[in-house]
Subunit: 505 residues, 2 copies
């Protein structure tokens, strides 16, 4: 066995990438090299889930750029040997952030699902494109199966529904606006915006900024996105407003699970209004869509079946590795109609199989990464019930944190009501602030607390949580749970750590 | 050792995904499961490069959907055990297409680079997002390093240049139009297209259809994309034309390596015209950009340094695994200016590090997959010289095929001149057509030849090549070389196979 290891090392040390496949006789070397990579990845994975492991080993950009202990990002013209590449891989992981760590609370996407990971490894080995059935027969059909399942969960019948995997929820949201515009004004595709009225879109002031980004990209203009205040009755009066201003209202984006608060817009009320006014109703459920997998929580999305389109990112609440986002459209065949250009040189209609499976012309991309397989494999592995228990647990963690905070005087909840999703927003009050009365003076000091704690937290690297201001609220922490590795003890740890780092501020 | 295997099998057979990490005490099971997956992938990889392996095992959509020998795409509510998942993974690969096979000539992206594959496996294990420096410190800096290298190769000075990795070249091209529009009319972002003149774009009739798709998406309208005929002097007269029609010409997309012919537009001539008329010059070098790595071939892109923006997909000619595409922009900081919305709740300006490294607001996405690492690692592994020899070899294969075809009477070249890129386009003349004079009658029959051969080819699965009609040319084969595994014997095989399948048509 020792001889074998020596032999392997000899292969790795003295060889370069040109000694790997497809070079003749390099099968063994290629296997060994990839096995060494896998050993690094497996070691990383096992370490990741250990609470004694740091979440990150922070360095400033200039430090990483200067090179750390032999790790240099610079590229030379000369090839490196395989051993150096293994070192580089180890270092890349070392200086990165362990987003799967049980104490990483920083993003809506976290965790590292082993089945999903296996799915990604296979996807990259298959190295193909969601372009035509010809080169992706299995993945194209899997996409159909998975999207159908998701549409069933929205409550859409078998006669309706279409969809596509997108590179992120922002692109999904962009699709929804594109489709809505085409629905009302199909001539826009060939003639452009100058041939149609000035459009107005509606969304809540807490919706994701991608709705505005879509308006900027599509030529509608961000000023024509009318932000409806939250916690008021929704769209009606602004719709009248838009008409007064000579705008043509056509689109509403409701949010199921806002980014910061995890709030759900009242979908049925919004659907009523959209029906009455003939508006396209989109639901941005990028974050909240996962709750459809839970019998306990899906009630929060009641009315989603009445939407015209839905964004739902399995890479968020469902814990699928990045990137896995979808856009679902109720009108069958409409993605194709809206986006096709029928470039015959890419999508030959005279092929010998059913070319309706060539999905390339449904998209605004062309080539498209295979994002479906990892989700398909996870679904096989867990079933609905597996996703359900995973998601329920994340919301239980949120409730646990909420209950803890409610009873403490050194923390202040941003909302007194129970979280609807797994977001819990709060301030920490250092000792020096605890006796100040609420108001401008305290707010000014409080605004600086979260950034200071976060800076120290990243330097020490034991946990990670995000913060932000919102509206008239100064910087507060937002804790989110989407990692199935997180336990109550991690929630306890987070609060202790905030206190430890912030107590004396 | 046998006991060990039995033990491993026991773990796999009786366990389900809930027995994997993060479940307590599941480290060993998780390692074993992933190792089993890796064994499947390594076996696949080694088989892939063998000429005795089929390129594909074709089945029609309805056959795959009905389920083949126990392989079902359907998802049940119940979880499957780990053993079944391994079977599913094997089947997924079995019924897929081996795009890395030395005899796969079907797409611009082919091959399977071992180093790139290692890079993808690491990327998915790191499972993070190109959103902020906070969660992707290493990858964000690698992006900067790699993009800088690419911009150096364009000939842009250190004072200029910006860029981003995109989900495919079509999105890169969309960015270019978006940036050009914003450059001339920054008010479009907030006020929309109704506040600016009607725009006109120019591109050649052989450019990729994504230029028109961009016009459709951005609200410019496909009819305002003026297609300049190829093989004439380029843009000048149409620009005057556009003005006559009340359109505002602002953008030209030149192509460096067209999809079908691999032709290069005369960049310096186009740059002259763009300078004279103050137009944004984009170069779609998605396919041709790789030639910049070759001292022998980079001359074909002369003038690219004068462009305002460039699309360059390393996942094509450079053999990087899918997906790896870039958009490069000469004007520094312009991506940020054009696309930023400064959502403070996502991009906190009061963080403790240099937040200019938070690239999320430069994009039209938000979350963004890490596409840089595999390219960075390949660059380390091969150096410029490695890419260069890989690319030179692909073009040598194209010349070899071209030379062979020139001397045959049963094949007809679409062009008599030497290929500029690795595309070689040709017809096969079955025996029955060989004595027909060129003209309508022969064309009608010839049009049906390629689809028939392709259908048989896919059924038999020994090689794969694409075909398409173009302009007034009936269906012809397009052979492209981007796979470093392909040798001359594979080119010989392809021609023999076409003859074998088509001789009696």
């Amino acid at each position: 066995k020792d001889l074998n290891i020596l032999y392997i090392n000899a292969i790795i040390i003295s060889h370069s990438s040109s000694d790997l496949l497809p070079t003749e006789g390099s099968e063994e070397a290629s296997r060994h090299f990839l096995q060494e990579i896998v050993n690094i990845l497996l070691a990383y994975m096992c370490k990741l889930f250990k609470r004694s492991t740091k979440v990150l080993d922070f360095h400033h950009p200039h430090q990483l750029k200067e090179g750390l202990e032999g790790f240099t990002l610079e590229l030379s013209d000369q090839p490196e040997n395989l051993e150096q590449l293994l070192v580089d891989c180890r270092d890349t992981l070392k200086y990165g952030v362990k987003t799967g760590h049980p104490r990483f609370f920083n993003q809506l996407s976290s965790g590292l699902d082993i089945i999903g990971l296996a799915g990604e490894w296979l996807t990259s080995t298959a190295n193909t494109n969601m372009f035509t059935y010809e080169i992706s027969p299995v993945f194209i059909l899997m996409e159909e199966v998975v999207l159908r399942k998701m549409m069933d969960m929205l409550g859409w019948s078998n006669e309706e529904g279409d969809g596509i995997f997108c590179p992120g929820g922002t692109v999904s949201n962009l699709y929804s606006v594109l489709l809505a515009r085409y629905h009302f004004f199909p001539e826009v595709k060939s003639r452009g915006m100058s041939a149609i009225p000035r459009l107005a879109m509606f969304t809540s002031s807490h919706s994701h900024y991608s709705i505005q980004k879509s308006a900027a990209v599509l030529g509608i203009g961000t000023e024509n996105v009318l932000l409806v205040k939250c916690d008021e009755r929704y769209v009606l009066s602004p719709a009248a407003d838009a008409k007064d201003r000579g705008l043509y209202p056509f689109y509403v984006s409701a949010t199921a699970g806002t980014t910061v608060y995890g709030a759900f817009d009242p979908l049925n009320d919004i659907a009523d209004i959209c029906e009455r006014h003939g508006l396209w109703m989109h639901v941005d459920a990028a974050w909240g869509g996962g709750l459809l997998m839970s019998k306990r929580h899906r009630v929060k999305l009641q009315g989603i079946d009445r939407s015209s389109s839905v964004t739902w990112n399995p890479h968020k609440m469902m814990g699928v590795p990045l990137q896995c986002a979808t856009l679902l459209v109720r009108k069958k065949g409409f993605l194709q109609e809206c986006n096709q250009l029928c470039a015959e040189y890419l999508f030959q209609p005279d092929k010998h199989y059913d070319t309706s499976y060539d999905t390339g012309d449904k998209t605004i991309q062309c080539g498209r990464h295979v994002d479906v397989f990892k989700l398909w494999l996870m679904w096989k592995a867990k079933g609905m019930e597996g996703f359900e228990s995973q998601i329920n647990k994340c919301l239980e963690n949120a409730e646990y944190l909420f209950d803890k905070l409610k009873n403490r005087t050194d923390f202040l909840l941003v909302f007194e009501s129970k979280p609807e999703h797994s977001n819990v927003c709060f301030w920490y009050l250092p000792h020096s602030l605890r006796n100040l009365p609420p108001g401008c003076e305290r707010d000014k000091k409080l605004h600086a607390v979260a950034p200071k704690i976060k800076a120290k937290m990243m330097e020490e690297g034991l946990t990670m949580i995000g913060y932000q201001p919102l509206g008239n609220k100064v910087n507060f922490f937002r804790c989110v749970f989407s990692n199935s590795a997180t336990q109550r003890e991690d929630v306890d740890f987070l609060l202790d750590e905030i206190v430890r780092l912030g107590h004396d501020l």
